[in-house]
């Protein structure tokens, strides 16, 4: 009888059956319609503490995108026997069946960042036969499972920051289109983070610390890596041993360049912020705004060397007005540390 009910449930809801154990549910991941509950995919052996199931590998990025100070847990899954192929500049070419998993979370107190963590949402970027697809799941109050939110959601989140101050925001879970608003490369849905320069760093795996590219190669996740030494890398934004220009450009690369590039959603602006962009006007140096509207703040140029306060780039990063702010999505707070870094860089520009 129970089995019959399960079958019926499956038939009725199409894709909402929850499986406690077993491998990652490849078939469900390839389904056109998303599952209603995150647990149905069986990506985690213990979802509430983000323990990945077999085949799901954790990773992180040298310089993450700023999302209202959220902590992020990233995982990659590829079906048994398949692997991604290396690209020096762009996101790797992932096989069909790949899932990139990103969970957004806040510790109650950032002074104890591993304690009392609240999971907020888990986003799946799934490589299906027709292309990449994205879905967001919002964690329930009990933190036992997460529910699909097709149209996105706004929910209150608060925490204590490093200085002991309480911060409260209306956290925005994006809908599928908003995901694509950034995840677009040459008009197709595409991953952003897993590029060689972002992954080329050490990660504390359960078996010990290892360079992520090295791990991916040795675990059979990645093909075609020349040698790790030849792979590009970027500095962390707070690594003061690295030149400030490199840190600033790395920050712009991960926070802006998915849109601000010729092949991205902000191509119309002519402002391109990829790490390798060498044309000074193109990365904003004394570049006039186009269609910026009141985003220009009455200023004449994107970047005025030596003068961050006259630079539109700073004006837009230092705002939370939806008609002005950049990035357009993904934050409701100003990233003070990012703004400071870019101001310092512009102050030193000649």
């Amino acid at each position: 009888m129970l089995r019959l009910m399960l079958v019926l449930t499956f038939a009725l809801l199409g894709a909402s059956v929850s499986v406690a154990q077993g491998p990652v549910n490849d078939a469900l991941l390839m389904h056109k319609r998303p599952a209603k509950l995150l647990s149905a995919y069986n990506l985690f052996s213990d979802p509430s503490v983000q323990i990945p199931n077999e085949g799901l590998h954790p990773f992180d990025l040298q310089q993450p995108l700023f999302t209202d100070y959220a902590q992020k847990y990233r995982f990659v899954y590829m079906p048994e026997g398949s692997k991604a192929s290396y690209d020096e500049k762009e996101a790797f070419n992932f096989p069909v069946g790949t899932v990139l998993v990103k969970t957004f979370a806040y510790p109650a107190d950032f002074r104890k960042p591993t304690k009392n963590i609240q999971l907020v949402e888990t986003r799946l970027l799934i490589h299906q036969k027709e292309g990449w697809n994205a879905w967001a799941y919002v964690w329930n109050e009990e933190q036992t499972d997460a529910n699909l939110k097709v149209a996105g959601k706004t929910l209150p989140v608060s925490w204590v920051d490093e200085t002991g101050a309480v911060r409260s925001i209306q956290y925005v879970v994006p809908n599928k289109n908003q995901c694509k608003g950034c995840h677009t490369y040459k008009k197709a849905f595409s991953p952003i983070g897993p590029k060689a320069r972002n992954l080329n760093k050490n990660f504390p795996y359960t078996g010990g610390v290892q360079n992520q590219l090295d791990y991916w190669v040795h675990t059979g996740l990645l093909d075609g890596v020349p040698t790790i030494k030849k792979a590009p890398s970027i500095p962390k934004m707070d690594d003061v041993s690295a030149p400030i220009a490199d840190r600033a450009r790395a920050y712009l690369d991960i926070n802006c360049a998915h849109c601000h590039r010729l092949e991205g959603p902000a191509s119309t602006s002519g402002l391109f912020l990829t790490y390798g962009e060498t044309n000074k006007t193109t990365w904003g140096y004394m570049k006039r705004p186009v269609a910026a509207g009141r985003g220009s703040g009455g200023l004449a140029y994107d970047i005025v060397p030596g003068d961050p306060d006259q630079s539109i780039l700073i004006f837009r990063l230092d705002s939370i007005d939806p008609g002005i702010m950049m990035p357009e999505l993904g934050r409701t707070l100003i990233h003070d540390e990012g703004v400071e870094l870019l101001k310092e860089w512009i102050r030193q520009l000649e």
Binding site: A151, V172, N177, L262, A291, G293, G323
Partner: protein
């Protein structure tokens, strides 16, 4: 000549291809009616994501409030309201997203609704093929204000754009703005109390006709700007429009190119080539009824041509104009022409000595044919720089006879099926 016909034929061919896709989708059409009594924001956004291609999404009569941007990425969708004064999507309380509605999919038709008070742009379509905005209203209800969103209707990097019967009011940049696009029709629309009423920027093949632009800072602007993926705007026809009483002080945030537009500009062509302006009525524009100018700012882009070339202005009707010029019209034109500023002014910027002396090469010239009594000035800015003692201007309209090749009207696939 041949080129023009080839392009027109190409446009038609594209049209036919598009039609063959549209019809099967229509046949499979599916109606999704939004229930106006529930959470419309969530219901509408879900419909915009989950709709099957070929669907029509119906939004009922009523005023609905949104806190976030809406977006559509499914092709072959119609979104229909009960009318531009009946179905009102209000974004006055919007806290996230830089436009009211963003469209990123092909073959989309939006009709009969209003979008009000977005902090950013009203409705944007980016990188799409075949998009129609019909009988829509985009308005900032407090009237002109520097904090209003930049653009009302904003298709960019798109092909086959139809804007028909739109009303746009209060945009702090351009009410109707078509940027870096191709094959465009803007018609039967009304742009009022915007900085720029209608602006076609860095675009190819546009027909802008039978529109009314009034009480804007500038009525109709045809611009081309440097440092953009698509430059060299060309093949634009502006005809049978009324651009009258554009008397709104410029309220654009400085830094933007439209921030330089003088209050009281009728029609303005800046850079671009192959532009035909005819059958329009321009009147009660205090700076100038008709301006033809080069891109005025410094730029760093070897591929950009700042000059207006092969422009033909003819058979327009001019009323009062140029009696109280603003901004550059006051700073640069009035000292040379006195008041009132002539009906048609060309800054006379050309590329080099010989062009300054003899006029631009055949094929790059400015041509004017207007009825007796129409006033004109070529300010001869470049000649003035070369021989400042000969600081004359040329007011003789007969030196600018001739015409440009006429091209076929723009044909759009979405027009053919209606």
């Amino acid at each position: 000549m041949n080129n023009i016909f080839k392009v027109a034929a190409f446009g038609l061919a594209l049209g036919l291809v598009s039609i063959s896709f549209v019809i099967p989708a229509k046949a499979a059409s599916n109606i999704l009616a939004i229930d106006g009594s529930g959470d419309v924001q969530e219901a509408l956004q879900e419909a915009l994501i989950l709709a099957e291609p070929g669907s029509t999404i119906l939004i009922p009569e009523g005023t609905f409030h949104f806190t976030g941007a809406l977006s559509l990425d499914v092709p072959n969708i119609s979104i229909k309201g009960a009318g531009m004064d009946k179905t009102i999507l209000s974004f006055a309380g919007q806290t996230t997203g830089s436009e009211g509605l963003l469209v990123t999919s092909d073959n989309v038709w939006i009709e009969g609704l209003a979008i009000e008070d977005t902090p950013g742009d009203g409705i944007k379509a980016k990188g799409v093929d075949t998009i129609s905005f019909v009988n829509m209203r985009i308005e900032w209800t407090r009237g002109p204000h520097a904090e209003n969103g930049a653009y009302g209707i904003y298709p960019v990097e798109s092909k086959h754009v139809l804007i028909d019967g739109a009303v746009v009011k209060g945009a702090s940049d351009a009410g109707i703005y078509v940027g870096q696009s191709q094959q465009i029709i803007v018609r039967n629309s009304r742009a009022e109390q915007n900085v720029a009423g209608i602006e076609i920027e860095n675009s190819y093949y546009a027909d802008v006709h039978n529109n009314i632009a009034t009480h804007n800072t500038g009525g109709i602007l045809i611009f081309d700007l440097p440092n953009l993926p698509q430059m060299g705007g060309h093949s634009i026809r502006v005809f049978n429009n009324k651009s009258v009483s554009n008397d709104e002080p410029n309220f654009a945030p400085p830094g933007n190119i439209v921030g330089t537009v003088p209050m009281g500009t009728g029609i303005m062509v800046m850079s671009n080539r192959d532009v035909e302006v005819f059958g329009n009525e321009m009147a009660e524009n205090a700076s100038a009824n008709m301006l033809i100018v080069a891109y005025p700012r410094d730029y760093n882009d070897p591929n950009f041509n700042p000059l207006p070339q092969n422009i033909y202005v003819h058979d327009n009707i001019y009323g009062r104009g140029g009696w109280a010029p603003d901004k550059d019209a006051k700073a640069f034109i009035e000292p040379k022409t006195g008041l009132p500023i002539p009906d048609i002014v060309w800054d006379g910027a050309v590329d080099g000595f010989w062009s300054a002396l003899l006029g631009p090469d055949e094929g790059d010239r400015i041509h004017i044919k207007e009825k007796e009594g129409t006033t004109f000035a070529n300010l001869e800015f470049v000649w003035d720089m070369i021989v400042p003692w000969d600081a004359g201007i040329d007011r003789d309209i007969s030196n600018y006879s001739g015409s440009i090749e006429q091209r076929a009207p723009i044909m759009l696939p979405q027009d053919a099926i209606k």
